[in-house]
């Protein structure tokens, strides 16, 4: 669906307003039901036993004592989840991650699970399960795992993307390369070169709601799953495949979701809960503890990135080179590949090369986190760009404007850009009052750009018009932060009715066609596209019904502002029929009125943002305080501007946390030391200032209203913006994130 140029000048009536979200009341009164807020009659409590070892062969599991404990109804191990993945390597990894098969691959890896009549019996049962481990050497650091003599995590991993193919296994599952031109020749010509190595530590999405589900497998093989997820259709596919069920027999209902940010795009406990329920013959509720969430789910890659950029005296970047090593947990991944694609995407470069290495480590399987892999690459590149601007003698913003990609630029990852928003965000930042505000002692200002692809994907929507003329909108993309409001606005806009007449719900997997999950900033982008299409289909029906009521040809009926309007000289005097009137008559004009839409919402359009950060550093302790923060980002068209601002602010806050304090800390024993919110320090309210936002609207040519995804890009610039601010405040280039006080103090003293 292409952008309708009418909309550039059109004044929207619903889209762009800021009504209260339909699910809001339930959320402020405590009535909204999240993953753990659902119960079933006869429900058991499920609990998972996890490996305390980073790397160990599982010699033997004896569950007999646990099984004999009164109140225990089922115990499962990998033996209860046989391999049904038929050679699908990615699914096999998911299966192995849900329940360790031959080896425990990280501290927190599931090895067995129980279902019991209550939580205390389940906890007791876990203690009775005997697991005999044979410890193996482990490696948790990305650089150590990359080294040739590192302990081998998976002896079947042969690096792909290398010619000739290596003859022995390593911890590097893939090498990938992007770029164009002649980097070495370009670099040789450069007047100024910056070359540095950067490191970022592993973070977690940190959603406040732990993973939770209720699984109910009936003796006839049908099943229900209530779960907090970003994609219930995807969970259905995965669970059905892993358990050998027909997808249609597994009905998955997505609960309200208490945050996901990419971390609820993967199954972990759900197949285990289903296996327990199948074995026990009763519903099983499985809720992770916070400790389990940190030890077993989610984390991002830890990275180590070499960057080299050369510029000419006039400020033109002549060559750019980066080597990126990303940890992907104990399984093959493609995280460095994404980092390699995004690293230089903001710039117009004649000679560019990026090489990514996927590195296996004894840490939890890496999962997506908001624009996955892009923030780390942006940190390295935008830090080097800032330093290079200084060497050239140019202002950091001007230097970026001079080198910014534009329409027609060949992107560093390959294709040529269409209309894009990096230039406008930089111009907006250049003119922003924030850039001109004075700074005090020990204070620094940093800015940085960020890029993210954005995705669309498979989307299905039903729009049903009731006999009273109100509209039920059933969508299949989980609402992670206000999309039911946005999609109701879009339906109201297209039909020409009030927002209050539309109610959007998230349908379960048995009530709607397949939907990809809410990821890749696609929720509002794709479902609004499908909603528009469904509404247009409904309008066709409404016109036909009005034609019947008037007894005139349907070609003579137009749809304007929520009304059927008769056109033509012969019946132009007929009074308009409202949607409500047509709906009321629907019983006798052919029955229910609805519009359906099944689409692939491709063409999401790439997204850019530029952020500004002011920070104060205490030079005696390395303590930092963010004083002011501004986000400028292109939204294409902001459907519900308040929630667009919310996405900008939330991404910025997560990025600030990542930049300053959040990190996984492993001991020498390979165990995670800070699996809780006390020592995994996400920002608290008093850590942050207000976060100013500026929404730019450069229409996406592939969406009828010009909408772009807005969810993810806001986490890309902050690591670099904060690092540049700290570096400017202390006069030392920061190369290791998070910039925790001990790291800042150490940098100051070298």
């Amino acid at each position: 669906m292409n952008f309708d140029p009418r909309h550039t000048t059109r004044s929207f009536s619903s889209v762009g307003t800021r009504p209260i979200r339909p699910d809001g009341i339930d959320k402020v009164t405590g009535r909204a039901r999240y993953g753990a807020d659902f119960n079933m009659p006869g429900q058991l409590v499920g609990r998972i036993l996890r490996s305390p070892h980073a790397h160990a062969v599982i010699r033997r599991i004896d569950t007999s004592k646990a099984e004999q404990l009164p109140g225990v109804k089922a115990v499962v191990t990998a033996a209860d989840l046989p391999d049904l993945t038929s050679g699908d390597a990615a699914m096999y990894d998911i299966l192995d991650n849900c329940m360790a098969r031959r080896k425990a691959l990280y501290d927190g890896h599931a090895v067995a699970a129980v279902a019991a009549i209550d939580a205390r019996t389940a906890r007791q049962a876990l203690k009775l399960i005997e697991v005999e481990y044979e410890l193996l050497p482990h490696v948790t650091d990305v650089d150590q795992a990359f080294a040739a003599d590192a302990p081998l995590i998976n002896d079947t991993i042969i690096t792909t993307g290398v010619d000739p193919k290596p003859d022995r296994a390593s911890n590097v599952s893939m090498r990938s390369q992007f770029g164009h031109g002649d980097v070495d020749a370009g670099m040789a010509k450069a007047d100024f070169v910056v070359e540095r190595t950067f490191k970022t530590e592993q973070t977690h999405q940190g959603y406040i709601e732990p993973h939770a589900c209720v699984a109910n497998v009936s003796p006839d093989g049908t099943a229900d799953l209530w779960v907090c997820t970003q994609g219930h259709f995807v969970y259905r596919q995965h669970c059905a495949q892993l358990l050998g069920m027909d997808a249609s027999k597994l009905r998955v209902t997505s609960s309200e979701i208490g945050g996901g940010f990419g971390g609820k795009t993967h199954v972990w406990a759900e197949p285990v809960a289903l296996a327990l329920s199948r074995k026990a013959g009763r519903p099983v509720k499985l809720v992770m503890t916070r400790d389990e969430v940190f030890r077993a789910t989610g984390p991002t890659s830890a990275t180590s990135i070499d960057v080299k950029i050369g510029a000419m005296k006039d400020g033109t970047i002549i060559a750019a080179d980066a080597t990126l090593r990303y940890s992907c947990g104990p399984y093959a991944g493609s995280w460095a590949e994404v980092g390699a694609m995004t690293a230089f995407a903001c710039y117009k470069l004649e000679n560019v090369r990026t090489v990514g290495y996927e590195v296996l480590v004894n840490r939890p399987k890496t999962a997506a986190y908001r624009a996955p892999s892009a923030p780390m690459a942006a940190f390295a590149v935008e830090s080097a760009i800032d330093e290079l601007a200084g060497k050239v003698g140019m202002d950091a913003v001007d230097f970026r404007i001079k080198n910014a990609a534009q329409e027609g630029t060949k992107a560093s990852y390959g294709p040529v850009y269409g209309p894009i928003g990096i230039g406008p965000t930089l111009e907006a930042v250049k003119n922003h009052p924030h850039m001109k505000a004075p700074l005090g002692k020990n204070q620094g200002r940093g800015m940085a750009c960020g890029f993210w692809f954005n995705f669309g994907g498979q989307t299905c929507t039903d729009l049903n018009i009731g006999m009273d003329g109100t509209v039920s909108l059933a969508v299949g993309t989980v609402d992670v932060g206000g999309s039911r409001a946005s999609l109701s606005l879009v339906a109201a806009e297209e039909l020409g009715i009030d927002y209050a007449q539309v109610r959007a719900v998230i349908a379960d997997t048995s009530s709607l066609g397949y939907n990809d999950m809410t990821d890749g900033s696609r929720g509002t982008f794709s479902s609004s596209m499908a909603t528009i299409s469904a509404a247009r289909n409904a309008i066709k029906v409404l016109r036909a019904r009005a034609a019947q009521m008037w007894d005139i040809p349907v070609e003579d009926v137009a749809w304007e502002k929520g009304h059927a309007v008769a056109k033509g000289e012969t019946h132009g005097n007929l009074p308009n029929l409202s949607l409500k009137e047509i709906a009321a008559a629907s019983g006798t004009t052919g029955g229910p009125i609805a519009g359906h839409s099944e689409i692939v919402a491709d063409g999401a359009g790439v997204s850019f943002a530029t952020h500004i950060c002011d920070i104060e550093v205490d030079p005696e302790t390395g303590a930092t305080r963010v004083l002011r923060y501004t986000v400028v980002q292109d939204a294409g068209k902001a459907v519900h501007p308040t929630y667009v601002e919310g996405q900008y602010q939330g991404g910025a806050a997560q990025g600030i946390g990542w930049a300053l304090n959040e990190e996984y800390i492993y001991g020498k024993d390979g165990r995670l030391q800070n699996a809780g919110f006390l020592d995994y320090r996400i920002p608290v309210c008093s850590d942050l200032p207000m976060i100013d936002t500026q929404i730019l609207e450069i229409p996406n040519p592939n969406h009828p209203y010009g909408v772009r995804g807005v969810g993810e890009t806001s986490i890309v610039p902050p690591l670099a913006a904060v690092a540049n601010a700290v570096s400017n405040a202390v006069g030392v280039r920061m190369q290791h994130i998070p910039m925790s006080p001990p790291r800042i103090l150490a940098a100051l003293e070298t």
Binding site: I20, G24, I25, G30, R290, Y643, G650, V684
Partner: protein, 158 residues
């Protein structure tokens, strides 16, 4: 393991329950009394999602035993609205979009209510420090702080 009989007042109503000695008040409220508005984010007092007011003190219900509730007054998010009239904080949270996923919202509302009861006209800094025991991962806190400021001014005027 004998059940302990506890008699208490929840959101103004008398309530009785039996609980185990090691059962937390959070577990009692959610699992025995069905007050699912009280959320569990960590179980260790680090996130504030299970905040309640216990005899005029803001506490994490995960750090209180059910047995300790004997003879005490408990206020949860379920008691904030009066009939169909939302509390000004609830109304302002909606208007300012001070929630995205909403899992932290009940805890924030209770904490903010407690804050405003003790300090009806707080500065931005007092709000930020007053709510520092409640984690939100979605909003960056900006809209939450604005909603509390706005609600405070409505409540002072009322």
């Amino acid at each position: 393991m004998a059940g302990i009989a506890v008699s208490t007042t929840i959101n103004g109503d008398h309530a009785e329950f039996l609980c185990h000695p090691d059962e937390t008040l959070l577990e009692v409220l959610r699992e025995r009394l069905g007050l699912m508005g009280v959320k569990e984010g960590c179980g260790t007092g680090d996130c504030g999602a299970c905040s309640i007011v216990l005899d005029d003190r803001l506490v994490c219900s995960c750090l209180v035993l059910g047995a300790e509730a004997e003879g005490r007054r408990i206020a949860t998010v379920e008691g904030m609205a009066q009939g169909d009239r939302l509390h000004p904080l609830q109304q302002k949270f909606l208007e300012h979009a001070a929630l995205q996923c909403g899992i932290c919202t009940p805890g924030f509302l209770i904490a903010a209510q407690d804050l405003l009861a003790k300090n009806p006209d707080p500065t931005e800094e007092e709000i930020r420090f007053g709510l520092a025991g409640n984690l939100c991962r979605c909003t960056g806190y900006d809209k939450i702080v604005r909603a509390v400021q706005d609600a405070a001014s409505v409540m002072r005027g009322a």
